[in-house]
């Protein structure tokens, strides 16, 4: 049930077509379906303006399938699945239409949503190894209809590669900065941009990067204003938040 559907329901109440109790009962019973191992939330469309997403890691192929099918059966036209193994994708393809990207491990079940090219989200990555995380962010943002510009391999060790793209940065409505190692990309972009910057530390690196800790701390301590941080390797979280911000004012 999306906001429009909810609004129609409430209009019927307002006009006396259905009683308040009937409306409440419809809304209240809808929120989620209990699959035993998961409570699938069909109400999120109302509550947060976007259909629920399935976090594939730590779930069996069978669990992913059941949740996906439950969602599609409750009116979702498409479902985003993150961190899905290629094995799980192969399994899922037997039951539902699925588009799967091996690099970012993102799958889209059901219809691929139309891209509405809303606003402009710039996704910059420090190095080649950060691209899987950057793509997780990019595909998530595109799933929700946003226009995405990719600026890959513009890490600070060759600052001119970034400076040559200063116009791309200037035209962004929100920027996602994806970087491992020392994570300085977020600060440098934050210093030249005048829009919100979402920093995504990655676990790329070795030794004293301690699984992404170095980039994480670096980004949290950014001396540039307008920068906030999501979890290490959390491309989805950044893409989802960028979508939220990008659509403000549409």
């Amino acid at each position: 049930m999306n906001k429009q559907e909810l609004k129609e329901l409430l209009d019927k109440v307002s006009s006396g077509q259905i009683s308040c109790d009937e409306a409440l009962s419809v809304i209240r019973t809808e929120p989620y379906e209990d699959l035993g191992f998961a409570k699938v939330d069909h109400h999120r469309g109302v509550r947060q303006g976007a259909a629920e997403v399935i976090y594939g890691a730590g779930k069996t192929s069978e669990q992913i399938e059941k949740i996906t099918v439950s969602m599609l059966n409750h009116g979702e036209s498409s479902v985003l699945i993150t961190r899905m193994s290629s094995d799980a994708a192969d399994f899922l393809k037997n039951s539902v239409p699925l588009k799967y990207d091996t690099l970012s491990k993102i799958g889209i079940a059901g219809e691929v949503p139309q891209n509405n090219n809303i606003g402009n989200i710039v996704i910059a990555s420090g190095g080649t190894s950060d691209i899987p995380v950057a793509e997780e962010a990019a595909l998530t943002a595109e799933f929700y209809g946003n226009k995405v510009s990719r600026l890959y391999d513009v890490g600070v060790s060759g600052i001119h590669r970034l400076m040559d793209n200063i116009d791309v940065i200037s035209n962004a409505k929100v920027i996602i900065a994806v970087a491992g190692m020392e994570g300085a990309l977020a600060s440098v972009i934050g210093g030249v941009a005048d829009c919100p910057v979402i920093a995504v530390p990655t676990s790329v690196g070795y030794g004293a990067n301690f699984g992404g800790l170095s980039a994480l701390l670096s980004m949290l301590n950014s001396c540039a204003s307008g920068v906030s941080v999501v979890n290490i390797d959390n491309g989805f979280g950044a893409g989802y938040l960028a979508n939220m911000i990008n659509k403000i004012g549409e």
Copy 2:
């Protein structure tokens, strides 16, 4: 120099009133004044849409005064100073008009900006001890003309206090969640809101909070979507980012 002033300069170039080189020279020489110990950035109004802010911690009263005066002399009508001791505030009052808030340690030199009541930023805090950080965020946001709604002491150990204010949360354009200890407030708000949530971990607590680490990790691992995190106790950063997001679409 703000965007408007820059635009006028460029119009003169366009119409041939001044040459391109003259314009470049004006822009290029303006960016900062070198005080020796600091390079004051007068160009930020152009580059990022907001005047520079003085981070007062670790600066002497004399340094703060010199930077403030330099800014006011270069056309800023008001300057925001964060983490300023009351001693520094007393010192500064001798030179410039200053409004100082002892709780958040924020000072505003020059004219107090008019609040334009733009959008709606909700600032929620977990407990009474988190209020100084929450106020740093609130005063920063108000400095830039945003409308701010305060929801203090709504921590998750009494979840009904938060639930009773669900309408305030629903009407927010962006929410700042300030919490120490276990930092769960961000996840709970992130689960019910459908706007961006900026999480500010605080160092409030003791023992295994390790100076704010517990709240920081908790917020970074939030299972709610749309949540991003700034540094521990960084109320200013949250307020500044909230201002950026809130003004999108104005």
Copy 3:
């Protein structure tokens, strides 16, 4: 030897049927059997009111078998084995009757104890991936005869799923809250329940969860009263402690 048997022995001493020294010798020689690599404790039934449990991790199939057989031969009717690989379970089935649960990796050798449906232990989990730990707790509690109610996938990012089950929580005598990521579930439950809450952080998550550290710190810093914490992923410990608490007053 259980408490009843011990009491009968001491009655015989009291009535002069056997001498004090004979009794002491019986008790003293019984405590454990030395298998070389392990000292099997047959006295725990007296000392702690529950038969010893075998922690299967880090033990070979042969070691598990020898300890199990030693216990069954000394009068235990059933033995609980935790963290047992399916290989070890297959091996053990050759020697003794065994019921094995692949999800929680718990095995019960000998007779499956009758469930006496004592009290009410509620086990809540944040997400689908936390279920193996939650089931380790649940099966442990059921092994000792407790009634267990499961509330799975009620994490705080969709707080209404938890709120809809507020009556289940209100009727609990003790609650086990199992959650990874930010571990906020314990605080939220602790805030609405008026019984002891045992929090189990899990290693579910990635990046800055640092193997369960985020949930652990979050739970230790809970601002709700009545919450205590066991080791990361320690479902058994929570189930065992819940059993102890639940049976007080029976």
Copy 4:
């Protein structure tokens, strides 16, 4: 409003003396009083069976006074205040009757509750320096009417001091083990007791104790069953939980 008062209110509804709406309005408006900096929760007596407690650290003397007075004015006969400085205690004594303990920094405002000597809570501490935390636990438990037995300075480096008190441990309904340094006390007690053990790590020690981390990790990894852990130095939390457990079955 306690459970009894709530029950009477609902009985009136049931018998038609007051309408359902009137009752709801009474309950709903009662939960908390908003002091601006704090939302004082007067409903906790219903929700959790114990009046709210004031955590004094990080609050000004004035804030503590206002919250205390608000509580006493709403029908609480006595209020427990933890981590209150002696200065705050002196300030508070001007407004309300107060009993203050300098060692544990606990204050009781209003009437000192009658001790009902319910059950038996044993509080054991490793060394002399752990006593302030142990007393915080003890006074909290006594505030709620529990009988408390103190076993101080029984650390494991002189295990016979503990073993000489094995009968005290055997008769406990719940035990609180307070220890700094290596925190082994919890495991040793957990190994001989057959009741729940609440472990409280303290920050006592130096060097590699890292502010209580050594005792905390030690207690979380206890190989004894039935042990759970609260935050470093959290005597109040342990005393409150012990009260909850001790009263089960009363």
Copy 5:
């Protein structure tokens, strides 16, 4: 060259049989053989009273073989090899006589040294899973001719198992306490013994043991006197040091 041989050489100098320079040249050229990837130290018998030991981890089978052969060719009758994979052991058996223990991964090349049953080293372990580390210590101590008494599975969760062996502990000249999880064994033994206790934390455990950190910190913070600590899982180091201490006064 051992101390006796060195003494004879110096006697010859003293009596004028050889010149000082000749003697120096003999000693100086002897210390080590350079294999390119390793400088094999044949002088250690003089310098430290015990032949060099090969740390097998991180060395190829070929490297281990070359170092072993170099040592045996320079007059060592037996060589101790620690942390050697069974593959490396199989490889080495082709060249030299080898006795290999799969549990502790210790190999002895050349003659197995005669055990002189010197003094008494007690090795206590907390649980069954700690035995590989305990055996590394035991076999090392026996290699150097010490008498070793093993006390396995006497962890503090069943303190009576340890107390029943108090006489074994009383008769020790030095004790090695091997334990994972909370590592409390070292403190308890340190509290009842009056000889040096070498504590070996192990990585046995899970969750908040953080690879042995919990036992390490616990042992470093031991409140018992006479306890010192070696690296996590360093059975060899403990056995070698126990040998040094045990032989003082022989």
Copy 6:
């Protein structure tokens, strides 16, 4: 009661002068005196061959005085007090004879024990700032009658200062290596000595020494054999253990 006194008591039992029960009662009642806040252990002379020591940190002057007097009244001729503030020392001097060293903060109450010049303990320190910890070790060892040789300021950055004293190191029976910063002293000494080396990391340093963590980890990972480690800044523990080792074979 020391070993000699205990032996005489048991001889009386053996010869029938007193009954076994009388002897037991004497021994059993002696172990400790309960001062309420402390259980003073008068039996340690029997159990561990050395009188109890008072750890002064975290105890009030009054507590230290009461414990000291209790010990002197129970037959101890001298008592060692560590980490005692100069204020506590001044207070204590009113009641008992006291010798106090301001550098190491060690006090000796009662008679200063005669130094028997047993064996040879070498105490080496890396720098001038490590001397307080080194002196805590030295005075402790001298208290128990050991001969101590001091080698101060011989850190590895000027390795020749250490090498010039190679004969001092060669003649030691046990060596205590005290060092902060990188703590390399322990490894270098361990590589040239053929006796046990007790490493004491100190908190001397700044930045990435993290309160002594760098020296601690360095010493635990020493590639030299025969090295073990005590807590950061634990000079007493090292001196006590060195005494134990030094006296083996006397």
Copy 7:
């Protein structure tokens, strides 16, 4: 484009052969080639005096090949590839001439550069297991034409092995000290050398080395002057920096 080529270009500008704009356009368009997943930097020869290096870890064989070919096609005569798997090396050999070293995982594509035997870089390693990292440094330095002297297995536990090579150390222009475990080698060399020492901590070790943290902290806290540190296992970084330093003054 190297410095010489750039100079010739600028000379042409100076003499009017080409316009400033043409020159700028040549320089500006040259910097990098965009392969989509990577921006290959052909300008580094100008900017930093050394051709770009390919960091092989985290790149597919195909990506490495494309970048290598792009570089060779743009005028590089040889390309250094670090952390390349042997599979990637086999793949790359199909397209370009490649010399591959399995120990250090370094590959050189194109012509092997002539070694000009410039200066003298000494590379010392603590143990046999550190050699792969040491060789990464050595081959990098040799790639750029430096003379390299290897001193392997000279760890501080046998300080005489290092002291015997004091002349090698005295003649170095820059020294690279590679060590795991306690990392003391850097301090000892720093204390005797009078040239810059680049310390490379390695992850060699176990237990409390925490993946190289012990050596890293040790080296950062070195009490010897003239020592700086690169990332754990970063042999390339050390070799590259040594090359920079070594060539100063050539």
Copy 8:
């Protein structure tokens, strides 16, 4: 004794003016003077080409004075003292000529060395609060006769401030990059410079900077080549190393 003096001594040996033994005796007895608490190293001028420096932190005013006087009496014309409190400086001025800088806490006793303006060391700092550390580096480098260029307050949040000084960076022989918070300055400078960059993390910042850890990790993980790192706040170490590098080739 400096290199020149040593050379003259050896020339006398070579020409037979003094015997080899006499020369050795002079050299050997000179190395250090033992003050009891410190072994003052007068030989460092020979061994490392620079007089010893006194690290003032953790030393009493009296100790600093004695070491300084000892050095000046042994032929040093000037002595560098770091981290000296102003109290110690006042004390020292009574005995020796002293120039003291309050910002960096550096003192120069004896003659202020002539600055020879050798080479060019650039010292860049991120912010105003990093200046004390930067000045410690600058004054150290100037003490040894180097020319120093200061670039303060050029942090990456305003990258144009750094880019405007690209020519200063291009002309450096070695650069010291001093920065706290996210420490990105080192990477950005490392990416544009073609000389060695010494990175100095500072403890400037708050919250998740954890006392300089964020900048330290960031700098260690720098993706720019040619960057190495010294301890947090270690301005002296950077200045000393820069001096070493700068003088290569003079």
